[in-house]
């Protein structure tokens, strides 16, 4: 049969966000995939010229709603280094707690959407039910379900009381128990394996050459995690990057499942080591100089470049997000698979389009 070009997106049932992929198809096999962008581009980096560096915290939180806390943490960390601010230990650990809670809720969200992409709707419902516990923690501790807005230059805005900490520990224990009950369905079920094992394989060499990051990279057997840089309080927390060897959709699912369990463990460690003390220091003056900060988002490495000139407004703010790095691997994964597997493979990189296009 001759070639057919099938447009995928921007509005598509499996996609929560608009991305357009032109799929060239022969029979049922995809031969070429060309992604197109720009449907969510707002121009956030340019907003740094109109809003001062403190107001920009609220803007960078809205680069992506799912990992908003981690964006703001990365941005504040950069400014704190530029302004020579020593953040209190308690604030650093509180940031770790909130950022790992964000990672748990992001991975649970993805596990649900992923199950929905291959038509396993009851699993989707189950994971989102588990996720609501984390959303409750966010709402109770920060006042908002999704965009928690706890960061400020010099520390965090909110503190956690002992009773709240105890409640968080109880809740994540329940989350862990419920995750364990989902383990056999998500990892050993015949239907799940049939749709994911051996689909969209990214070898170790390809992953490295194409610059994949986050779970996509770790599913191909490379143990690279930005938390190894020991930013914030990760220097005293015990943690090993989760690695799988196969590089297919199944491995990427396993990675996220195991990382959720790992994040629960990190939250426990952080709470047990939480010292008494202030949650922020007063910051005076304006930032000057340039800096690059990197943190690990649920989707991979997030990089912020900040250039400041001792005025209220930043000279330049550059954000590089993990999905942007994972698009070339995606374009390499798609050729050779069947058309019916395209939604599963696209979702397997956990695309966050609003991050990518900002």
């Amino acid at each position: 049969m001759s070639k057919t070009i099938i447009p995928f997106g921007p509005q598509h049932p499996v996609l929560p966000e608009p991305i357009h992929v032109s799929l060239t198809v022969e029979d049922e096999i995809v031969t070429e995939a060309v992604p197109a962008f720009g449907y969510v581009h707002r121009g956030l980096e340019k907003l740094a010229e109109k809003k001062d560096f403190n107001q920009m915290i609220q803007v960078v939180e809205r680069v992506c709603g799912i990992c908003s806390m981690i964006h703001a943490m990365c941005y504040c960390e950069g400014l704190e280094t530029l302004m020579n601010v020593e953040v209190p230990r308690r604030a650093k650990l509180l940031r770790v707690i909130w950022s790992e809670l964000h990672r748990i809720h992001s991975h649970l969200l993805w596990l649900g959407l992923y199950a929905d992409a291959f038509g396993f709707e009851s699993v989707f419902m189950q994971f989102w039910k588990i996720r609501e516990r984390i959303m409750d923690i966010n709402e109770a501790t920060a006042g908002n379900r999704v965009i928690v807005s706890v960061n400020q230059v010099g520390g965090v805005r909110r503190d956690l009381s002992p009773s709240q900490l105890k409640w968080i520990l109880d809740e994540i224990t329940v989350v862990e128990k419920e995750m364990k009950s989902m383990e056999s369905t998500m990892l050993n079920d015949y239907t799940v394996k049939k749709r994911t094992v051996g689909i969209g394989v990214l070898t170790r060499e390809m992953a490295y050459e194409l610059g994949a990051s986050g779970p996509v990279l770790r599913a191909s057997g490379i143990a690279q995690d930005m938390r190894q840089l020991k930013y914030e309080a990760f220097d005293e927390l015990d943690f090993e990057p989760v690695v799988e060897q196969d590089g297919d959709c199944y491995a990427r699912g396993v990675i996220r499942f195991r990382e959720t369990m790992q994040s629960i463990d990190i939250v426990r460690q952080a709470i047990s080591r939480l010292p008494q003390g202030d949650t922020f220091v007063k910051v005076k003056g304006k930032p000057e100089g340039e800096i690059v900060t990197r943190v690990e988002q649920p989707r991979g490495e997030c990089l912020y470049y900040i250039k400041a000139n001792k005025t209220k407004f930043l000279d330049r703010l550059r954000i590089r997000t993990p999905t942007f790095a994972n698009i070339p691997p995606l374009a390499a994964m798609l050729p050779g698979i069947e058309l019916a597997d395209v939604p599963v493979v696209i979702l397997s990189i956990d695309p966050c389009i609003s991050c990518t296009e900002r």
Binding site: Q11, H12, G43, V63
Partner: protein
Amino acid sequence: MLKKLIEKSQIKSPWIVHYDCGSCNGCDIETLACLTPLYDVERFGVLNIGNPKHADVLLVTGTVNHRNKKVLKNIYDQMSDPKLIIAIGACGLSGGIFKEAYNVVGGVDKVIPVDVYVPGCPAKPEAIIDGVVEGLAKLGELQQQNKTDAIAS
């Protein structure tokens, strides 16, 4: 008689199509959270459907930008009358925090007519459900209006 059945079922079981029009994902995941066990809008008969041609209600989240305004207009045109448009979140209402950004046109109502506005950054699932329920009353009015228009012409 069939017409009556369709009119009744449109109110009792509205089908929804959701389009992310440049939001930060916050409102999108809250819209999806409405479908899941804790909020469960299916108890009101609400069904999420991917095809705009089958849908009665369009949920739009986020700001409109210069690239996706055509896509949004296209989805709106594909829906059959009477249709209900609900804008969700501060960005969908006015542009929100992104209002001053260079690629942002503004709220959803700059491109298509909006029936219900749901505020919040991001809007909570309760608020979204409330918006849909409020919108359904308006859909009933629209049906009545269509009828009187048909008689008059």
